[in-house]
Structure formats: structure tokens, C-alpha cells
Assembly symmetry: C3
Homo-oligomer: 432 residues x 3
């Protein structure tokens, strides 16, 4: 965190007017984004951590409404459509593998090579004439720094994965430690916008994280002017925007009551936070640094369906030696991860009891709170944005201009209501 | 209960023919009522008991599909739309108040004066240009005899609340004691009609109430003729109808088996019940007297959405001295309330085990039983009414003629699927 | 099981080509079947076991989307529409009977003769003018060999029940023992097709049944050629098809790994299974023999609504003496029934743990797995059938040609969302 001069009033007014004006016109400026409730098509998506899939193991996921079954073989992950073409059963419901390269449907023994998707045998009618005729849809998969990415779309070959990943995630000598992977109840866009928006620090002001690390916390941070928001060129890397939150709001007042976040002395002038935060297409966040100096914080908001996303969190650091990697991973597990995420079992405390609630758990809760009004009460067109939301408008416009496609149920048979684990199955309305 | 002469056969025939004839034509005579599944617009609605909201407290409710947040300040209750105009969050999900007059959104600190609805500060961007531009919708609220009423509609000023409340609820020296407030699974109209219909006493015949108070109970009561049904003029009070149930059915016979309710001696002539019962727009019942002599019984069936209503029950009595009030309240709590309502925790007995099931719990169960056929199987147009339903037809016609408006999702962004307490949230289909 | 010569290759090719060709054209050849998601109209349906309804008892069921209340009197079962014509209440929610012949609505005492459906009294208004005017819909009912069948449709008189029951169920001296009756989450057509399809023996290969009876089990069985599939004439009996599964697949290979079911010695030539299996309209299966020699296995897949069916299982045997009946019934209960079905309470083991999972429980699970893709992801038109599915095509074509009608919500007011037991009531989407 560097100290930074305050924004001038003229900068501020300029930005504010622009935000309000853009917000007024937003129905014309980012219509494609508003249509992308199921995600962007022809992009790579973080799906799970590599450590969640051992050699030979099989798992099912739904990404952007598509059912996908993953298998690891020879330490490489392959993916197929998770509906047997014969009678539609999910391979992942009861995975069967008779060889390293194959996956067999539990119902009639249709057996596919997971590398090519080709039907290689039918155990209940060996030598079936369908062999050689049936080929299951395959998905390009890449595993980078312990995160498994899958390509959702129909470009062949797919674009380079580097164009869909946060740039700092691809740095040399980066060590990435998994933190959390949660099936969250909110549209992916609300999660992305909320993750990028540091003006809601206010809502986190009682987080245990801040108390523990004992630093002065502002009520809000956001860029002071356009120069603090940079659009990145997607030619060699992803499209995205990076912002510097150089405005720090340290206190506010309501009817004579002063409001501050913890550790703030209203009589002192605190150093501004000046965190660099980037949001990249299709749905990845990078924060430099968080939750501690020298630690990169990564998030992904991978669409499951319109009502859910995979909320994936990881921490990263440059480690030049095996020893430093060991130290970093250990610190992540013991110290950092519990600050940002606690699994449900640990979390039987009321919302807002900051000491015991993980920082990002609270985000997760907050996004769920927004979901219904946006998805089902037309709030995308009713919201009233304010100055810090300028970055949100920039993001929506960027996505609308640079997306490679919009995912629709029409591009894929509807799978709402299906859940990979077979639980909470609802024939009409999807996983709960 | 006064003794009353029996209805003559000619009166009876006359009324019966009329009921059947009206029922035959009902699709033309009360179409507006059939459209009002979400409630009537531009009316006052009982929402909760004042005792449920202490000074400074905040609570959320959904009334007629509108989300409303209430706050009490200086012993007066104010109400706002419970969606922050910025990003739609419900204030009530995590209420924050920095001053008596304000309510702050937990997400970005948008702070409103609950009296005016005006945005007075934004804690994450003090001095925001939105101040002075944003005004949250406010709702007129009045608290009368311990019940908080809210006005749903767009008349400004709203009509006098006296025109939407049962007349006897407004008597001088009336003391009102809360009995129950339950989120019930039935359309409000079914609840109102069932509450008004004493011909279903049959269904209550084994109620513990009747056994306990040890009086002869008829199988059914209803008005003998038109003269026993009076339509009230709404100029100075509410539109409503009052009936005198002077016909009392004491026994019936099926294939030689005689059916009577408890405490009935088939060899004696019992005094008729002659209870005065009124049903008032928008959805309030008054019974004079019930469940005991001298006790007024009030019910409200406030719409939540098409599938749920708030079932609010209170007892009242004229108390001229503080001492008599104390005695009345104590009697209500100990003796009367348990006869009519038992909370779920107390109620782990099978339906119809009258001794342990509250009188109105059974009504609640019965209305839920009717709901699906009416709301989703078109029973509004398939029902076959009988003579005692004459009062139901009168009610439907009265409402159709006198309603100030019909509430529609179109008049308010859809909020089905949202629940104020955040529980049982279903992105598609509302609170369960 | 008889020994049978293997199918010739030429037969095989012939059948395979035909299956593929028919599958390609199926949208034209069996459209009526694809429309019959709610069942076939004007057919008799197995509903429950007679032993589940004692003399004088009342129960509610939903069959093909119609709500029906059954009562047994003088050892004969009668059935009425389970919605009181007055206000729609379900009689079965709280059954009341004052005489042998009548059923009374618990809400206002509307009392019907269950034999004629006629309103005979109204307890809350004795002598109501509706008497003689109201007649509740009655359903033809027949009880055969301990199974209660109901006719869903509007043919009067209905066709002879013999035309809707598996022929061997009607044999002289047949003793039928109930095994299971389960509300299953899958469309009835998937259940029927799965029940008829023995090519999925593969999925059952670890069933406790096979281990216990210690016989060699093939991976799959299916008819070798058209001559092994016979369409039955429906003039004196039901329309249906009977197949002889004379092809037995004993082993298969994937990348050098041999797959066999239990008890199979790859070095021996096992006797083919040659089980005769018939599937009859509207939805009855008969297997000769299963799960043991001399035992007939019957199944019914009675539609509840589009998403559920009643899965009814019974075993039968010819017993010429009372003593042999006693022995058979005892053997069924102790030995045979537990092999095919375990109730939920007994079944807390993972799917596929064959030793503890009933044979047909696994079918039930498998059908639920297929349901979503077929019902909501258009798999009826996307499936890729293989040679053993030739029988499925025959069944679909037969049903499409011979059905007496297609059940639609339009032919009956919608009742989705209602459950006879009042549990899991969902105002929109039916029993879960």
C-alpha cells in the first residue's frame, strides 16, 4: 500500500457526472452484458482445483449450464459431455473406469475414450455398430497453477488460455494455494461486480480479518479519476480493467454520529490504501495485495446456471525456492485462508459477527441478497448507481464489446434442475 | 347469544334460489374479485402487532407482494420500500441505524431518513451527488390499538384509515390483546371467506374450545334470509357486510346415524346462536362475541403474495378501568388465546384431535387445503355453492363494486420468491 | 431358463440396421407416445394393493394427474373424484364416514354415496336443494388378485379390464404377493422402457440377488432377431409385446481388461438365459421367471404426473392348494421380496453396493437419473439407440398405434403440486 495524494474536487465531479450520465444510458451501452445471465460463450473457465481430482478419478460439474465430466489420466485432465448419448445418464453419477483412458456409462456400459470422446466399446453389445459412429463432445481442458480450466464454446481451436486468465496468475514462480470453492446462490455478474467493488468495504468493517491484522480500515475505496482505471489490451492477454483505489473514505457522519471502521483514529491522517485490483474476462479477479502484503488474491465467479456460480478463491505468491513455497503454503492454510473463508460447518454464527465470519463468506451472503432483485425484479434496469460504480459501468461496457459470445440455453439443451451430486434434484428448477 | 325464532321455509327457499342463481352467473358479477389474487390496491392492511417492534427496531414484511421495511422512532412507525435503490439490497436483512431518524443499507451505507425516504448520506462516499436526488418510496403507517397498519397504493393522501378497519375495532375504551400472527399458505380470499363462513362449524365440532366452555354447539349457522345480511355504507366507515347467523343446524342424519356436535342433547331444544359477524374491506373480520361472551374476536387476512397471507388474530373488550384491562389481558393470555391458536411447537398432534388443536389452527389448515384447487385448478369457476354461501356471494360482489384498485405484480416489480427473514429463499417461487 | 442356440450374425446385422434406421425416423413413427407424458387415457391402471385398504377405509391417490379417493365397502372398492364439488377440499385429507355407503367432506359435511357419486345429504344444511343436483365423478374400480385397478377415462362402459392387464396375471390359481409400492421420481415411460430392457443387466451385475442365488449372470440379454419379439393381439387380451432374450453377453473387453458379471467363469460356456418378458399396455410388465424359477415377476409404472409414477411390484405363482399358497407367500416375504426391494429405512448404503441394495431399488435410482434429460432436455429426440433398443422402438410404435387416448392436463383440471398425504405440498410444482 502506497501513500497517495487525495483526489481533487474537480476530478471527482468529473467522474461523478460521467457515472450518472452513463448509468442513465446504460440500456443502450451494455445490452450484451445484460443478456449474459448464463455466462460468456467461447471462454475458458476455472472449474475446480487440480488437487480435487486425483489420477484416475472422475467428477462432474456444471459450467455455464453445460454438464461436464472430468477425468484425470497420466496427470492430464480430460473432459466430456456428462450425458451418455445413448440414454442421457450422467457418467459422473456412478463413474466406472476399466482402463486408464476410458470412461464407461454405468447403465449399459457405453465406453468412451476420454481423450477423443470416441465410443470404443459397448459392454452390453460388444462390437456394436455404433462404435465408430458415436463421438461424445469433448471439452478443451488446461490445468495451470493448480486450477483446472475448461473451455465452453465451439471455437476450434479455442483461443489461447492466456487471454482468459488474470495476468498475474501466469507469473513465473507463482505458487498458488487453494482457499475455497463454493457453489454460491447468485448470478455470476453480481459476484464479479461485487468482488471488484471496494466501495463496499463498509459492509466488511467488522470483519475478523481487519481486527486481526490490526490496520486502519477505510469505509470505502475507489478510483479518484479516469486515470486510475486502465483498460487492458486483450491481444496477448485477457481483456480486463485494472483500477487503483486511491480515494479512501475514513469516516462519515449521520446526524452527528461519526462512523469509522476499526483501528481508525479520527484525529490522525491515515495512509491511503492504494490496492491494485483487476477484473478480467470472463470472470476472474486479482487483488494486489490481499489479505496481506505480498499475497495475491484471486477469485473466479464461474457461472453454473443463472442462479448459481462457482466461487473459487486462491492465494498466490512468488516463491523462488522450495523452502519459501513450503512456508507460503503453510501460512496460507493456517493464517490467511481462515480469514477469508470458513466452511459451513465452522460457521454457525449470525451474519455480521465479524470475528467469526470469513471475509468472503460475507461477500457470498451479500451477493445472494442482491440476486433476486436483479435476476427476477428487473433491477438491472432499475438500479441507481453512484460515483464508485464508475468501474462497474466500465466493466459492463468492456464485456459487452469484447465478449466472444453469449451463452444461451439454446446453444445447449437445458440442464437447469440437475445437480452433479444427484442431491437436491428438482425436475423443474435446478440445484438449490 | 340471543334466542331467535327459526327462519320460515319461504324465507329459506327464497334465499336458496337466489344463491344458486347468483352462483350460476358469478363469472359476470364479481370478476374484479377473481382478479384480486394479490390483494386490493389503495387500502390499509394490518401488518403486525406494535409490540413486535420496539423503539428503534427494524423489521421487514411483504404485503400484497411489496417489500416493506418498518422502523419505530419516537414511538411512531415509519415504512420504506425494503430495497435499497442503489443495488436492491433489503435494509431489513441486516438493519443498521446510526441515528433515530435514519436507516442505513448494510452494503454501501446508503442512509435514508425513514420519515421522508430522502437519501441523507452515503457513508462510502460522503456528500454523494445522489443526495437530494434519491427518495425512497415511503408508506403511510398508522398504529391503532396495538396493530400496525400500512397503506398499499398510490393515493396521496390515502383515504382515512377508519374506512378500512372493522368498526368495532375503533370503539372507545377498546382494549386489544394480540393472539397470533402467522404466515399462512393460502390465498387471502379463501381465508376471508372461510373466516366469515360459520357453516363450517361442522369442521370444528370436536374443537377443545367447545368442550372446554361446555356449551351446545350447532353443526352450522348461517343467516336465514336477506334481512339478516346488512351491507354497510362505506362513507364514514369501511365497506363490509354484517350477518346474523340465526339459523342453527343442531343435527343431521346419514343412513340412520344422527350427527351432532358436542354438548348437544338431541331431546332438548337449544337456544340458537345469534352471533353478529362482520367482514370488512380490505380483509378484516369481527365477531361479536367469540370465543367467550363479551369478547370481540378480530381477524385479518393480509395478502403476502398469491399463495400466502398473514393471518393475524386479536381479542378485544371494552375496559373502562386500568384494573379491568389487566384482568382482560391476563384472561386472554391464559385462557382464551390457547383456545384459538397454538404455535407450531406446541402442536405435534394429528389434525382434528380437537382437544389439542387450536380452533383457528384448524381453519388455517383447512384454508391451505382449499388453496391449490382454487389458485391452480380453476376452482373459482368450478365450485358449486350452497345456501349458506349466499354471504360469500354478497362479499364477492361488494368487494368487486367497492374496491379502490386491484393489486398486480405489474404495479410493483415482482418479488415472489423473496422472504423477509432470508430463509426459504427460492429464486423462482417465493417463500414457502 | 432354457438353453437356446446363439443368434446368427446375419440375424444380428439385420436387426441392428433396422434399429438404427427406425431410431432415425422416430419423430414420425411414434409421436403419440412422445406426447403421452401424463399417461394414456381410457385405460385401467394398477393403483395400490387391496391389503392397503381395509373394509371401511378411505385413501387418496393421484393417477395420471387425477385425484381420486377410494373407499372399500362390503369388500368392494369404490372411487370418486377427490375434490368436493362445493369448495374443492380433498375428502381424503380427513376422511369422515357416517355410514358404510357414504363419504363426508370434513369441511361442510357434503355427504356422497360412494357407489353412485350422488350427493345424499349436507350436514350443515340438511335437505339442501343441491341434493339430487350434484353428482360427483365416479371411477370404475376392479380388484384382481389383490391389486386394485382404476379406470382413467371417459368411455362408458370402460373396456374389459382383461385388455389392460398382463395375461399371466389373470391365470387360474395364480397367487399374487405384494412386494413394493413406491412413489418414484421419473416419467412412467422411462420406467416402462427400463423395466423391459434387459440389456442393462450390466448395471445390476453386483446385485446381492445374483450373489445370493449363485448363478452365472450375463452382462446383457436381448432378442437375437425379430422372431424373438412377438406383438400380441389386443382383441381378447391386452396389446403388448413379448420378447425372448436369447442373446446373452457373458463378457466384454476394454483395453485388455475383461469384464464379466458375478459367477461367470470365462473358460466355461454358460447356458443362455432365455427369459420371456412381456410389456403390456398401458404400463405393466411380466417376467417369466424372476427372481427365481417358477416365480412370475410383475411390475406396473402407473403415471402420477409427468415427473412421478407409482412403481408397483408383485410376485406370483400358481398354487393349486392352500398349503402351497402359504408356502409361496412365506417364501416371498422372507426370501424373494428383500432381494428386489428394500424400503428406504433399510437402505442407508451407497448406490451400487449391490449386497445391500435391492435389485429394483437400483432400477428406481437409474430411472430417476434419466428423467431430467428426457423430460426437460429433449432427450426423447436426442437419444442414440443401439441394437438391444429394438424392443423399445417396438413398444413405442405399438403404444402409438393402439392407445385409446392421450391423457392431458386439459382433460382434467391441473392438479400438479398436490399430494394426497398433504406433505411436500408445493403450490406450483407438485409432490417432490
Amino acid at each position: 500500500m502506497k501513500k497517495n495524494g487525495p483526489a481533487t474536487e474537480s476530478m471527482r465531479d468529473d467522474l461523478e457526472e460521467e457515472t450518472l450520465a452513463e448509468a442513465r444510458e446504460h440500456t443502450t451501452s451494455y445490452e450484451p452484458y445484460l443478456e449474459a445471465s448464463l455466462g460468456l460463450r467461447n471462454h475458458w473457465y476455472a472449474s475446480f482445483f487440480g488437487e480435487e481430482l486425483s489420477e484416475g478419478e472422475v467428477r462432474g460439474e456444471m459450467i455455464c449450464g453445460e454438464r461436464i465430466v472430468f477425468k484425470r489420466l497420466d496427470n492430464q485432465v480430460f473432459a466430456l459431455e456428462d450425458r451418455c448419448p445413448h440414454r442421457g445418464s450422467a457418467f459422473s453419477a456412478r463413474p466406472e473406469c476399466y482402463s486408464k483412458n476410458t470412461l464407461t456409462c454405468w447403465l449399459h456400459g457405453f465406453t468412451f475414450d476420454v481423450r477423443s470422446g470416441k465410443l470404443v466399446e459397448v459392454l452390453t453389445e460388444p462390437g456394436s455398430k455404433l462404435i465408430g459412429k458415436l463421438q461424445q463432445k469433448t471439452y478443451p481442458v488446461q490445468e495451470i497453477n493448480g486450477v483446472v480450466f475448461v473451455f465452453i464454446g465451439d471455437m476450434d481451436p479455442p483461443p489461447a488460455i492466456e487471454q482468459d486468465i488474470q495476468p498475474k496468475f501466469l507469473q513465473s514462480n507463482l505458487v498458488v494455494q487453494s482457499v475455497a470453492r463454493n457453489k454460491s446462490r447468485a448470478n455470476w455478474r453480481l459476484a464479479a461486480e461485487n468482488g471488484y467493488d471496494a466501495a463496499h468495504l463498509y459492509a466488511h468493517r467488522n470483519a475478523g480479518l481487519f481486527k486481526q491484522i490490526d490496520i486502519p480500515v477505510p469505509l470505502s475505496t475507489f478510483p479518484s479519476n479516469k486515470g486510475k482505471v486502465t483498460e487492458l489490451n486483450g491481444d496477448n492477454g485477457p481483456w480486463g480493467i485494472v483500477k487503483f483505489d486511491d480515494i479512501n473514505i475514513w469516516h462519515a457522519e449521520v446526524d452527528g454520529t461519526y462512523i469509522t471502521a476499526p483501528n481508525v483514529d479520527p484525529h490522525l491522517e491515515h495512509d491511503n490504501w492504494d490496492i491494485e485490483v483487476g477484473l478480467f474476462m470472463p470472470c476472474g479477479l486479482e487483488v494486489d495485495y490481499f489479505p496481506a502484503p505480498g499475497v495475491l488474491h484471486f477469485e473466479w465467479y464461474t457461472p453454473i446456471d443463472e442462479d448459481h456460480h462457482l466461487y473459487i478463491i486462491a492465494h498466490g505468491a512468488i516463491c523462488d525456492t522450495p523452502e519459501s513455497e513450503v512456508i507460503f503454503r503453510s501460512r496460507c492454510k493456517k493464517e490467511l485462508a481462515p480469514l477469508v473463508w470458513r466452511s459451513e460447518g465452522d460457521n454457525n454464527v449470525p451474519v455480521g459477527d465479524g470475528d467469526t465470519w470469513g471475509f468472503n463468506n460475507f461477500d457470498d451472503w451479500g451477493r445472494e441478497q442482491m440476486h433476486h432483485v436483479y435476476q427476477y425484479e428487473n433491477f438491472w434496469r432499475r438500479e441507481r448507481l453512484f460515483r464508485p460504480d464508475y468501474i462497474v459501468l466500465r466493466w459492463r461496457n468492456l464485456v459487452s464489446q469484447r465478449l466472444r459470445g453469449i451463452q444461451k440455453w439454446g446453444t445447449w439443451a437445458p440442464t437447469r434442475g440437475w445437480s452433479p451430486d444427484g442431491k437436491n434434484y428438482d425436475p423443474k428448477f435446478g440445484p438449490k
